[in-house]
Symmetry: C2
Subunit: 367 residues, 2 copies
């Protein structure tokens, strides 16, 4: 196990002081920013996430703010998802593709107003793509990374905790909607969303100066709920089939391969980059696709590279994320499998660094 | 000290097996790829780099390949440095700026042919910017990240080691030039360049499959030269004033603030993005600039965030990189200082996490 070498380049967040005080044990780097990966242990964190409530420093979900008369036109250029019916107050999960239909990011678009959007990004410098397009097309927009850092509250008690700090009106916020709620005299975007299946909210903390103040307020208000610092949990996200850009998909993949075809309205999303390529993909269908894969036997090692998925001597796919699930008492995994072997119940082998394992393609994820 | 959590998203390199076998102790993440930071200790690695020869896994210096009839036009759009006199076989250090003159990256451009370039990037997804511009301007180019991974050989014995593997002709390669040299039947770009002041080469390994073969060949040939695995060394690079994008400069800085004004030929680099903004900067001059800063007293802690530089109660800059130098027996640092206090010999204070330190602005770096 190697240490992470800290430097300014791996940016701290407005919540890093709280994360350190809570005893963070591991980090990854996401958008050149520190993202905690474990506090007590991944399995203890997992149990606690499913039973109580956690506060997550997900400041690394950086925002791209797009303002101006051409803002909505530009956002529609970015994604094959049809945004015409989207209203201010809504959040949409939007695949972003290049001109060949390759995934560049899979962010959440937050529509603040007709002429003002935030794109809450996964791990790639989507800002550069957006700025490049806007410059090339001479669009009338202002594009920047604002001082906005999401703080997530996740777990079965998340609603109670967020209500304790922001008031009971947050209970009325529906899934993938947001409202504006006051904290320390500032109006913050609070959305019902987050990178777990346990339910919860993401608070878009505008202004680093109030970051630790909100962190402390949540910790204080949640004391009776067993609140603790947490982070996206590897086991829980695989059980729930939450994909991770860079892990489970890259720019080599189309949205259709990632099972995101339902977010591609290529017939109606007029003007989106990659439309021609995706129309072709939509007609022919992908030849490989994301699948849940159960790997039999005892605990697999950490998955830090692609593991080949084999049918006899032929590679028919790969596993990109895997972990032992205490609740399902098996190894849960996410992989990409060719259509010849992607049907539910297909037996395959997975080559892990510890040896070959029997495995099975599933129709659905676990949770 | 926290551990790094490995996942596919933090990409391994063609040399990772060698790096691990050599006992890597720390990593950073650079272009979403693993970059070793320490093998024995930062000070032992430093001493060895200055006295012998090291092989560095710098695969994280990813390449952007630009091919096609508009390739040279596009590369000139990217940088304010005038490229008209550049010949195939040359490498240029090229600041890349956005339309406001803010630094997006500071790569090395490698001109392979009139219609074929590699851009060897620092830590940001410059690929997205390049692709966005090319799409917006409908340029006739093919842009991709090829399977090319630089392996650096650095240190006073670097030339002997590279000559032992590639033949004595590499001795004729001049600084920031490259030649094509055979290894295992493949022609590789070998440039006299690298991120240290000790001299050496960077081998652009085309094809991951021969990565470990070259690694082993260098280790074998260098046995009598005390060759060892190494990596960019924090102390040595600060002594030498080698800037690090993300640490010492960001998109908030112009090239002129970074002391890179000599690479900005804004009068003649026709068509470059950011020209208008940089013409203005060139006329007025920057109001703050990169400086070498000596911090007095004993060893400073690790610099993982900006440290304010103070003149009395007024902040006049910040330190972005700092380390104890065994050779110069002082703390060497890189900072950005306002013009009111940037003259050589100006006394300032630096606020470190361990307390306030007396410091002095220098005219030159140490090595």
């Amino acid at each position: 196990m190697a240490l992470i070498s800290l430097s300014r380049r791996l940016r701290r967040t407005p919540f890093s002081d709280g994360v350190e005080a809570a005893g963070v044990k591991g980090y990854t780097v996401y958008n050149r920013m520190l993202l905690p990966t474990v506090f007590r242990s991944i399995e203890e964190d997992y149990r606690h996430l499913k039973e109580a409530v956690q506060v997550w420093d997900v400041a690394c979900e950086r925002q791209i703010e797009i303002r101006g008369p051409d803002a909505t036109r530009l956002v529609q250029m970015l994604t094959p998802r049809d945004l015409r019916a989207m209203l201010p107050g809504q959040c949409y999960y939007v695949p972003i593709v290049d001109e060949t239909g390759g995934m560049l990011n899979d962010p959440v678009a937050v529509k603040l107003a007709e002429d003002r959007w935030w794109i809450s990004i996964a791990d790639s410098d989507l800002l550069f793509w957006v700025k490049g397009l806007a410059y090339g097309f001479r669009l009338d927009v202002l594009i920047q990374e604002p001082d906005v850092s999401p703080l997530a509250v996740q777990g079965p008690l998340a609603e109670d905790l967020v209500a304790a700090v922001f008031g009971d009106a947050v209970r009325n916020v529906r899934f993938f909607r947001f409202g504006l709620f006051a904290f320390r005299g500032r109006q913050l975007v609070v959305a019902r969303s987050g990178y777990s299946k346990q339910g919860g909210f993401e608070i878009y903390v505008e202004g680093s100066d109030i970051g630790m103040s909100l962190w402390h307020a949540l910790m204080e208000a949640g004391r009776s709920m067993d609140v603790y610092a947490g982070c996206p949990n590897l086991i829980e996200r695989i059980e729930g089939g939450l994909l991770s850009y860079g892990n489970d998909m890259t720019d080599e993949n189309t949205p259709h391969e990632c099972g995101l075809g339902r977010f591609c309205n290529t017939q109606t999303a007029i003007g989106c980059v990659g439309r021609d390529a995706l129309l072709r993909v939509a007609r022919e269908g992908p030849v490989r696709q994301i699948r849940a894969i159960e790997i039999y036997g005892d605990r697999v090692p950490g998955c830090d590279r692609l593991w080949p998925v084999m049918a006899g001597d032929t590679q028919v796919g790969h596993v990109s994320s895997a972990a032992w699930s205490p609740d399902f008492e098996t190894n849960v995994a996410i992989g990409m499998v060719r259509m010849t072997h992607w049907d539910e119940g297909t037996d395959v082998d997975v080559i892990t660094p510890d040896g070959v394992r029997a495995a099975c393609v599933r129709d659905m994820f676990w949770a």
